[in-house]
């Protein structure tokens, strides 16, 4: 090694040390890391597969550098191989997400990968759900302008992420939102808060050859550019709120709608009233042909440009999420209502600590359609209010009662109707009665126990010989106990058992340790697919049979 080189090295080290320590470089490095591993043996009863590579591993690290208004970030992802339930196309590793951004009070610019949402997302939502393996981040440029207080204008263009690549379609969008109370001098002191917004999204995709249904010799004249527009309002007056968004989409023949030319539209209205001890809401939703993807031929969950949420209440108890409802973007009409009331302490029903009661109900139907043709035609006609196939209904009563300083009990009864047609299966209608008992026992300041007992009575059944292969079917009992010896550790035991007309028994044990932002969890047992809440956090898990571990940290 020559002297010149070692001198250079010494200088580099010195400069770096001084720059770092003195903050000449300034800025901060933050990030988060997550590692999920899974070992599984085949279990045909619960549908778990064998893992020939012994261990499946999902790993990711986000590193973010921030210096004043400037920031840059990157994410490394590795799937070696992806956990059960993740698409095999994720297999591999590399830089999955990167960007540089400048954000100040009046202007924000992001170049690279970004997430974004216009309004409630009915025409555009780029987001990520790492447990579902869903990431439709855009790669491109995103600009936000706030020329005056109360006005936000967003403009963006890019391509959508799909696994390790990007879709061919281009996505362009512009959105404006005005907060009238900030913009209009006379409204600044008003009790009425009004926000108005409007957005437009256009996608471009090259031509391809799709045969017409009427004459297979001829190909469809496909629109290369498809536009979608939405208007929305948010009104807030004292105890009342009204939120509404209406979206309309141009002709967008795709594999999702059978290459029909009917325009799409959707309306969502939410009316709410709330004050201390009481909240009530009524929601209605109409969706007609609103699948909006940047690729005509893409089925499945990827390359969606928009996001239309399900209207029914989202629970986290396993008995109540056995049959989760997913929005039918092709068409649905739904309503949901909820009233939550607190009986004050000291009253007959309130007792010493008060009692909370929540009533919730929702019902969702397909559209009442009349078929008028196949690919290359309008497809069907439908009315706004007509009801077609019954998809889902639920009604629940929830009572939460603090029994003493140390004991809190929650009890839920839910009646549910679920049509497996919404998951692409044969139409049917399951009728379920669900009962949940949940007890938190705070033994002392840092020591607590959590018990859950759940029951599902269903007219669905599992019978392979007759083609009934839904592993959620039948009657279930579920039990769960979690022990928190202090605030760092937890140990839990659980079992879910289909005792009648069903199949499967899912015992499992888990232990976890949290210190600051670092959390390590080990589990062993059988895992039913679904939303799992344990040891303080909730997450989505696939079916497995064996050991799992999860390590997360952030800094």
């Amino acid at each position: 090694m020559n002297i010149k080189r070692s001198l250079l090295s010494a200088v580099a080290l010195l400069v770096a040390g001084v720059a770092g320590a003195q903050g000449i470089m300034g800025g901060h490095v933050t990030g988060n890391v997550q590692l999920d591993g899974q070992m599984s043996r085949e279990d045909t009863v619960i549908g778990a597969s064998d893992v020939p590579e012994i261990m499946k591993l999902n790993a990711r690290a986000d590193i973010l550098y921030t210096n004043g208004d400037f920031s840059a970030g990157l994410r490394f992802e590795a799937y070696q191989t992806p956990l059960l339930g993740f698409n095999a196309q994720y297999t591999g590793q590399g830089l999955a997400h990167y960007f540089v951004a400048y954000k100040s009070k009046r202007i924000s610019v992001t170049a690279g990968n970004f997430y974004e949402q216009f309004g409630s997302g009915m025409i555009l939502r780029a987001y990520e759900d790492r447990y579902l393996g869903l990431d439709n981040a855009l790669l491109g440029v995103n600009i936000q302008l706030r020329p005056v207080d109360g006005l936000t204008i967003k403009a963006l263009a890019g391509k959508q992420r799909i696994y390790w690549g990007y879709g061919e379609g281009l996505v362009r969008g512009i959105d404006a939102e005005a907060d009238l109370n900030s913009l209009i001098r006379g409204m600044q002191e008003s009790k009425l808060h009004l926000t108005l917004g409007a957005g437009f999204v256009s996608k471009y995709e090259a031509d391809e050859s799709i045969p017409s249904a009427a004459d297979p010799e001829r190909r469809l004249n496909l629109p290369l550019n498809v536009g979608a527009a939405a208007v929305r309002l948010n009104l807030d007056y004292g105890h009342w709120t009204l939120q509404s968004e209406y979206a309309r989409k141009g002709q967008d023949p795709s594999i999702m709608n059978g290459y029909i030319y009917r325009p799409g539209e959707a309306l969502m209205v939410n009316l709410g009233y709330s004050r201390r001890g009481l909240s009530a809401s009524l929601q209605a939703k109409h969706v007609d042909n609103m699948s909006f993807k940047s690729s005509r031929s893409q089925t499945g969950e990827m390359l969606y440009i928009n996001y239309i949420p399900a209207i029914n209440r989202q629970y986290t108890y396993p008995s109540l999420t056995l049959y989760p409802y997913a929005t039918q973007v092709i068409g649905e009409n739904g309503v949901q209502g909820e009233v939550a009331y607190r009986f004050k302490k000291g009253t007959l029903l309130g007792g010493k600590y008060g009692t909370d009661v929540t009533l919730n109900a929702s019902t969702i139907y397909g559209l009442d359609t009349t078929q008028t043709g196949g690919a290359g035609t309008e497809g069907y006609t439908a009315t706004w209010t007509g009801l077609g196939q019954h998809f889902y209904t639920d009604a629940s009563l929830e009572v939460e009662k603090k029994l003493s300083k140390k004991l809190t009990l929650t009890a839920i009864y839910c009646y549910q109707e679920f049509n497996p047609v919404v998951e692409g299966h044969e139409p049917d209608l399951y009728h379920n009665h669900i009962v949940v008992g949940d007890l938190h026992w705070r033994v002392n300041k840092k020591h607590s126990l959590h018990f859950k007992a759940e029951w599902v009575g269903s007219d669905s059944f599992y019978d392979e010989a007759r083609g009934h292969t839904d592993r959620r079917a039948g009657d279930w009992v579920m039990g769960f106990v979690e022990w928190n010896p202090g605030t760092h550790w937890f140990v839990s035991l659980s079992d879910q058992y289909a005792y009648n007309d069903g199949i499967g028994n899912y015992p499992s044990v888990a232990v976890g340790y949290t210190h600051g932002t670092t959390r390590l969890q080990l589990g062993y047992g059988k895992q039913r697919e679904g939303l799992l809440c344990i040891g303080g956090v909730c997450r989505q898990v696939p079916a497995s049979n064996g050991l799992t571990f999860s390590l997360t940290t952030s800094f």
Binding site: K105, G272, C538, S554
Partner: protein, 175 residues
């Protein structure tokens, strides 16, 4: 050798960067309960500490944490002057429930006088703020911010009793 030097240089520099506490991002857009857009620079407490808790209406442990703190929050404020800011990551499916939940639970101020002090509530529907703060996917995630707007402590998850650690961190800032 060149590589080793480069690595060491980056390491030394990195250690220097991380020695200081990261500032709370001030340029992320959040939404208030009445639908207004505000910048995250609005989160401050006149030089006193702030607790920020990320939560969602569907997250049991989050609800338990916020209910537990509600019962002792007036005492916390009177003792330390701390302000509790709760940021909902409910997406379009459940965001409309946030106002009802916070008003019914006595977390946000509705003008009655049941409590002395209330949480400040923001919505972060597409997780812009959550991403900027690296909370990962799972709520709850709790931060303690000092009077200079620096993140001095953070914690993932909630188990009963953890609220004592939060207020201990706030008390430590006042010493």
């Amino acid at each position: 050798m060149k590589r080793i030097t480069l690595f060491l240089a980056l390491l030394v520099m990195g250690t220097g960067l991380m020695a200081q506490n990261a500032k709370l991002p001030d340029n992320v857009t959040l939404r208030t309960l009445d639908g207004k857009s505000v910048q995250s620079s609005a989160i401050q407490n006149d030089g006193r500490p702030v607790i920020i808790s990320f939560w969602a209406t569907w997250c049991g442990p989050c609800m338990l944490e916020l209910k537990t703190i509600r019962e002792i929050y007036d005492e916390w404020v009177e003792e330390t002057g701390v302000k509790m800011v709760i940021v909902s990551i409910d997406d379009a499916r459940t965001a409309a429930r946030v106002k009802g939940v916070t008003e019914k639970q006595g977390w946000s101020d509705t003008g009655d006088d049941e409590f002395q002090h209330y949480y400040e509530v923001y919505l972060d529907s597409n997780r812009d703020f959550a991403t900027a703060l690296n909370i990962g996917q799972d709520p709850p995630h709790t931060f303690v911010i000092n009077g200079q707007g620096e993140i001095v402590w953070q914690h993932k998850g909630y188990q009963p009793g953890a609220e004592e650690e939060v207020i201990e961190q706030v008390r430590a800032l006042l010493k």
